[in-house]
Structure formats: structure tokens, C-alpha cells
Symmetry: C2
Subunit: 269 residues, 2 copies
């Protein structure tokens, strides 16, 4: 879609946040991306470690963390504070005017408590709206939003919200006005045909291949929701989703590393 | 100075942050202040409690906390995360579009490591600049900045910075463009002639009275730097400083509670 400004929405997870050398390498590359960009981060092992040190038990249901009051406080501290502010401070020397926020700041991400027929996930928020005009304005003023995975309901309640989901919802919402390239930083090179062989990484994957590889149990576990997110994103306007190592950011973007999911160029936008 | 828009800069400390009922009362009053306003907060006992739970020893020199790496991380978590995000979330229901930031966000507060001939205060920042155009823009867009007491050097280092000092520097810097009223929330009704009698609160205090009461040891301890800050603020353009109970905010502003330090109306601004 010519005329739209390119926007990079990049998500980094725990594996790189916990590794200062790789993180610094990534931040330099991220800051060097031309034009508009948004960084969304998780919290990595830090949240789990802090909870352990404070003796807060974490309940998991189906691989998802149940968020009680104490766990939410950990998320506020680690995601909203420690990780967010350290990323912001670390981006400035690379010429990137970072603005660290969570979903409550400026009413950026509204959500409601997750409703589930059998499981109470606690203080977990499912996203209702992303404040596109706000992000648009910040980007236009030269800021790089750095977003912690917390949302709010506008009535005083903060929620824990999965960073992959926040990234995807921001990417979708921003694709109304931008040519969005979404990058999911990951601990592997991309989608691997053989999980033990980094060289078996697929350069591209389309929805039919995904279904087939899922059927053959070649794509399993955490990669499934990641790819479902990716296909959902391109279906709703994101131009390209790339999954790979965050610290190979230039290669992910020029297509020499990672796995891309591309919006069909003939499809209407 | 006619023509200047009024701006309230309000600082709250630990005593109210640690008390949910009083805090909520204050936030409702704060949100109801007409027009432009900025909230600066400390962290209260939460930082000390977290440090204790994590077994981090805190070193104090002359009543000031020495900030090592571990203590700075506590400040990032408690001030930058927990307290900041909870205040932001709690302000929205009162119709106040809060934007929670620290001094690194958007390059809001630049500082350098404190230089002292004999004491190394560690990662404590003395403020160089407050980004007035940035605050001005946020206020103009209807945001209420909620500011955590952290600054940065622009080279990747965050600093712990006293919340009273941040408040004062913001108030001074903003008084170039605004008619600034600075409110220091405090655990007493104001400046007391008898520390055990809340009714002995002075309505106003001028510099000569301050010097005399200091000489007579009626004003002592923590109140001295607080008042020095206040006189410094009015000297550099702030119109009025009020010290009193944060949860009496309307009374502090209408002059029926608290102690005021007023800029001489005949003085040039």
C-alpha cells in the first residue's frame, strides 16, 4: 500500500532481556531502524526470580500464569519499572528518544478481566482497544514507545497482559495508518523443520504450510500460538511478520534470517 | 503575572502512598484540580520493605540513602513501576488522563552523578535540566504527568533522585511559562510552632521568620531542607509553595490549611 509510512513493531522476550550483551547489541540495531518504531517487552526470568525471592507462589494453568494481587505487583515492578526503565535509559545513547509506558499511561491499552467458562485467570486483561491516535502522535513527535505488558480497565485496575498479544494488537491497530512490519524476537532462528537444527529454518511460511506442519507435529508447543498470532496479524492488515533472533534484527528485516509471514500482495488492504 | 496559565505541581510522599484510604481521597481531590497539573511521588516504606525482604542492606549517610546497584533496582521497581503505575491507574476513574513517567522517559530529566568531596552517594543524580517543552506539550494535550523520582544521564545510566528536589526543579523550570503553585504533601498540617500541636500551624512564613525559627530550634530536622527548597523555589519564579497534608488539598489551595510561602508580589518575575 504505497503512501503509508513504515512502522516497525518489535517484541523482545525474556531470553534476550536476561542477557546484557545480546540485549545491548539488539538495542543498538533497534535504535538504528529508520523511522517509526515501537518496542514491546516481556520480563523474562526476572519476574519469576523476584516472585521466588519474595516467596510468592505462581499458579500455572495450561502454561499460562494465573495473576493474583501479589503476582500483579511483581509484574508492575519488573515489567512496568525495572525492565521498562532500563530499556528506556539504554536506548538514549543510541540516539533513540524512548518513552517507556504501560497500557494505563495516557490510556494506551484498555482491557477487561479475562472471562473463561472454567478457569479464573485472575488479574489478566484481554485487550479491548489500543489508543492509535496516542501512539501516532508520539511517533510523529519522534518518540519511540517502549511498552510494558500491562493494560488497564480505566476504572483503576491494572492487568497482566501477554506481551505477544499486546504486540499483535498494537501491530494490527496501527496498520490502519502504517505499513506495519512486526518482529517477534525469539530464542531460535525462526520456524525450524528440525528443532535441533538451526539451519532447517524456513524463510517463509504460509497458512497452508502451517496447517500441514502442525498436523505432522513438526510445529508444536509455544510456536503454535506464536504463528497463530502472526497469521491473525497479517489477516488484519499487518504487512509482514518476522520471527527470529532479536539480535539479528537487520538480517530479519532484509530477509536473510528468520521466518517471514507475508500479507498476500494481491489481497485488498 | 497575568496571562500565565496556572499549573499545580504536587508532591506526595510515603506517608500517604502507604495509606490506601487517604491516598484515594487525595487522588480524587488532585484529579478535580482545574487545568494543568503534575504529580511527583516518592516511594514510601515500600522501597525499604522490599529491600529488607530481598536482604539488601541500605547504607545511610547524613540521613541520605546511598544508592548502590541493588538499591537502584529497588527504586526502578518500586518508584518507576509499582507506585507510578498504581497512581496512574487510580487517577483515570476520576477523569484524569495520567501519564506515568520517570526522568529517562522522553529525556524528561537529565542529571549527573552527585559529586561530593568526601562521600560517594553512589547512583544518585543531581539534576541538570528539566525538559520544559516536553511537559508543556503533554499538559497542552490534556495529560497529567505522574513522575517517579528517577533521572538519567542520557548515556544509559539511571539515577535515584530525591522526589522533593525533582518537584522543586520541575516547579522552577515550569515557572518560565506558567503561574506555578507548588504543593508539598507532608505528614503534618504544615510548619508547626509546637511540633506536638497541629493547631500551632503557621498560615504563612517568610524568609526572615524561617531564619529566626531555625535559630530558636523551633524549625528543625527534615523541615529545614523542605523550607529551603520552598524559598529557593519562590526565589526562582514559583508563585506560591504550600506545605501541608496532601489529603487536605482543596484547603491547602484555598489557604485554610497548610503553610504558604508566597513570592513577593512586588518582585519582578
Amino acid at each position: 500500500m504505497p503512501g503509508k509510512i513504515k512502522l516497525f513493531v518489535v517484541k523482545i522476550g525474556g531470553n534476550i532481556i536476561d542477557d546484557n550483551v545480546r540485549l545491548n547489541e539488539f538495542l543498538q540495531q533497534f535504535a538504528a531502524l529508520p523511522g517509526a518504531k515501537i518496542l514491546v517487552h516481556g520480563g523474562g526470568k526476572l519476574a519469576t526470580e523476584l516472585a521466588e525471592k519474595l516467596g510468592i507462589q505462581q499458579v500455572m494453568i495450561d502454561g499460562r500464569r494465573v495473576t493474583d494481587e501479589a503476582t500483579l505487583r511483581i509484574a508492575e515492578m519488573v515489567y512496568g519499572g525495572l525492565v521498562n526503565k532500563q530499556l528506556v535509559a539504554a536506548l538514549h545513547p543510541f540516539g533513540c528518544t524512548a518513552l517507556g509506558v504501560c497500557g494505563a499511561d495516557g490510556d494506551l491499552i484498555r482491557a477487561h478481566k479475562r472471562q473463561h467458562p472454567t478457569i479464573d485467570f485472575g488479574l489478566v486483561g484481554d485487550i479491548d482497544t489500543v489508543n492509535v491516535p496516542l501512539l501516532d502522535r508520539w511517533l510523529g513527535q519522534g518518540f519511540t514507545p517502549v511498552i510494558a505488558p500491562l493494560s488497564h480497565d480505566g476504572e483503576g485496575q491494572l492487568f497482566n497482559t501477554n506481551a505477544d498479544t499486546i504486540t499483535q494488537e498494537i501491530a494490527k491497530a496501527m496498520s490502519q495508518a502504517f505499513h506495519v512490519v512486526l518482529v517477534y524476537g525469539f530464542e531460535k532462528s525462526g520456524v525450524l523443520l528440525d528443532v535441533n537444527d538451526e539451519k532447517s529454518c524456513l524463510t517463509q511460511i504460509d497458512f497452508e504450510q502451517f496447517q500441514e506442519l502442525k498436523r505432522k507435529k513438526i510445529i508444536t508447543k509455544g510456536m503454535i500460538p506464536k504463528l497463530e498470532n502472526a497469521f491473525s496479524a497479517v489477516k488484519e492488515g499487518v504487512r509482514r511478520v518476522i520471527i527470529g533472533r532479536a539480535e539479528s534484527l537487520p538480517q530479519l528485516i532484509d530477509g536473510t534470517s528468520g521466518t517471514s509471514i507475508v500479507r498476500d500482495r494481491y489481497e485488498n488492504n
